[in-house]
Symmetry: C2
Subunit: 403 residues, 2 copies
């Protein structure tokens, strides 16, 4: 039995994700596909449009065999830490390969880039640091450092988000001496930031954009039936989808009742940024306006959103630091599994050194943190709904009995 | 020129308050009446139904000459600290007398009680402490300690809230050797907790109750015209009146995203109560339900509300302790004044040692704290309204030019 790992957010699951999943399974000739998925907050610092349980439900219905959670402290991080967390988990789960989408599409170049950087690691690191100190954003500083040492040998365009992520996956695999074989599939659409749906393969951004503007019927061509159904039911039963805009009142309340020293302790907060955040949030009447006021070349939208997620969830640097320093996660939480997924876990019991949480009998080590984050995430929903969801939160994972 | 001091909350200003104000002015033969008024949160730990500026506006329209703010750290406290703060401020302002309403109505008995307790201070204090440790509430423990030392000489019924407050005013005056002459007027209605309005003198509780149930026309007989007009305009222009119920979503979000150690640091939090609060708030669907679940003989509604106000406003013991330990407030903030009020301040410039803030030219020493509290208070209003109100917040006080 062979398993292929995917690193996903499914925000929401669409035809492009489905295509990638099917291709990955086929190319790697796998019997089992395991996805590690961000929880209720995502890598770019956004709340997921629907919660992790419903996103896992769609994925299991679409044929993924095992969906485990990428915990908040790995998920809401820049690409390097995000990748490190995801690879550690997939490595623990004994997958044979991972398959990621990239704009570049050729795996050998990723490996070669890793070798080049490895050779110039010191120079690379010091230049990266210099660029960060010069006020460059993290992605830009990385790109400049890559350019600096790669010279003409720069094989991959690192301004493309999926190339950067892919590189970090490959790097993490080699850094931890994992036996995982990395594979990449060229993304058939690169229009990550497109805001309109043009055909059956559309970006998640464009799909969310249609949902945000209440044009949910427009997404039909771009998502599987199950995805549309679960999205619709979520809003019907719980009252809302999750967007930053819905959290603005609470975020503003929170920022304006924190002391400056408390704000400074928030994970990701940079020197002096707390003053800028206080000043700008007092002036803005909605989240987009706030973002426009607060962002700069140095403070990118993504890095700011991650900081806002940390403010909203009351996540401090102190809390995060020791968690990301761990060699192995303290536990892996299963959100959903099929009979094949369960079989995989059973067959690899001996090799899997990390505790797998498939029930609420044993306490999940990140439960306190997780509940706090879920409370923040659900805070925009009507109170009776919040209670129902929080009660379910530590139930057994979704188990799909029929294919 | 003579001035009489009042200690008020005006939540909202009603005919009973107006009667008391007129009587106080007459009995003391004063030219000027100075009220020290709780800000946006009140002694019993409730948000005021409308903000301090609008409550001050009603009072000035009704003839009070000077309204100054009792800062949050004095206002949202048990009766002893509340009284101490109010008397310190009135003493600084050089009032000749204070006049308070009480169920008892005879000032000599208050003075005599003070002498009795003074004589048995040690016994009193240790018995009070013992009762508190036995799980009695603060008012009950006080009553028992009074009984203990007073024996048959217990002149005043200390189960009545205004007798307790009055006693604390008298005590504070003597404790600081103030030259203020205390005077009391017997309350003509003692139905503090009545929920219905029966005639032109009704309790503030019954008036708020009518407002809460959207029967605002019912209050006409019990409040001056200006009070009704300003209450109506507040809701019309700002969208809501302030009740705990409206803050439940934010309070719940806040409690459930705080760590236990953060909750323990909140001013007034008692050992183990943080666990009870977390447990009960997870189960409740509204504020009243929450209160019913969390309160006990030991944790009274009032003491809990004060703790919830501190959670909502992020007020810690550390912050409060040094503020209430001060001999004198660092500054007194004027919310509204008449020409007579201004004249009083001008004539007593030499004697008033505390800085008086009547403009935003000098920074009010509690401004940072005040803004944080106002942000929490206004957080339930629509965002554009919040901004308008916060912008006005540090403008000059209301000045009434004509009588």
């Amino acid at each position: 039995m062979k398993a292929c790992g995917l690193i996903v957010e499914y925000n929401p699951y669409h035809n492009g994700h489905h295509y990638h999943f099917q291709q990955a399974k086929k190319i790697t000739n796998s019997d089992c596909v395991i996805a590690v998925m961000s929880g209720n907050f995502l890598q770019r610092g956004e709340p997921a449009i629907i919660d992790k349980f419903n996103r896992a439900k769609i994925a299991i219905e679409q044929g993924i065999d095992l969906i485990v959670e990428l915990p908040y402290f790995y998920a809401v991080q820049h690409s390097e830490l995000f990748a490190r967390g995801a690879i550690r988990i997939l490595d623990s789960l004994q997958v044979d390969s991972i398959c990621f989408g990239s704009e570049h599409g050729k795996i050998n170049d990723f490996t070669e880039m890793y070798q080049i950087i490895k050779k110039h690691q010191e120079e690379y690191d010091s230049y990266l640091k210099l660029m960060l100190n010069n006020g460059e954003s993290y992605p830009k500083a990385n790109e400049l450092a890559f350019n600096k040492i790669g010279g003409n040998k720069l094989l991959i365009d690192f301004t493309k988000p999926n190339n950067i992520l892919g590189y970090q996956y490959v790097k993490s695999i080699y850094d931890i001496d994992s036996k995982i074989v990395p594979i990449t599939i060229k993304r058939i659409k690169n229009d990550f930031h497109d805001s309109e749906i043009k055909d059956s393969i559309a970006s998640a951004t464009s799909i969310r954009n249609q949902l945000f503007h209440e044009n949910e019927e427009n997404i039909i061509q771009a998502v599987p039936y199950k995805s549309k159904e679960i999205l619709d039911n979520y809003r019907l039963n719980y009252g809302a989808w999750h967007y930053w805009q819905n959290y603005f009142t609470i975020l503003k309340y929170r920022v304006l009742t924190m002391s400056r020293s408390e704000l400074k302790k928030i994970h990701g907060m940079k020197e002096g940024l707390e003053n800028r955040i206080i000043e700008k949030i007092s002036k803005a009447t909605n989240f987009n306006e706030f973002m426009e006021l607060v962002k700069t070349k140095r403070y990118t939208k993504t890095s700011l959103q991650r900081i806002f997620a940390n403010i909203l969830t009351n996540t401090t640097s102190t809390e995060i630091k020791h968690l990301i320093a761990q060699e192995q996660p303290d536990g892996i939480r299963v959100l959903a599994m099929s009979p094949i997924g369960r079989q995989w876990l059973n067959q690899h019991k001996q090799q899997i050194e990390t505790t797998i949480f498939t029930s609420n009998k044993k306490p999940y080590p990140y439960q306190t943190m997780d509940e706090r984050i879920d409370n923040a995430y659900y805070s925009i929903l009507p109170i009776p709904v919040q209670q129902r969801l929080l009660k379910q939160s530590y139930q057994k994972p979704i188990f799909k009995t029929s294919q």
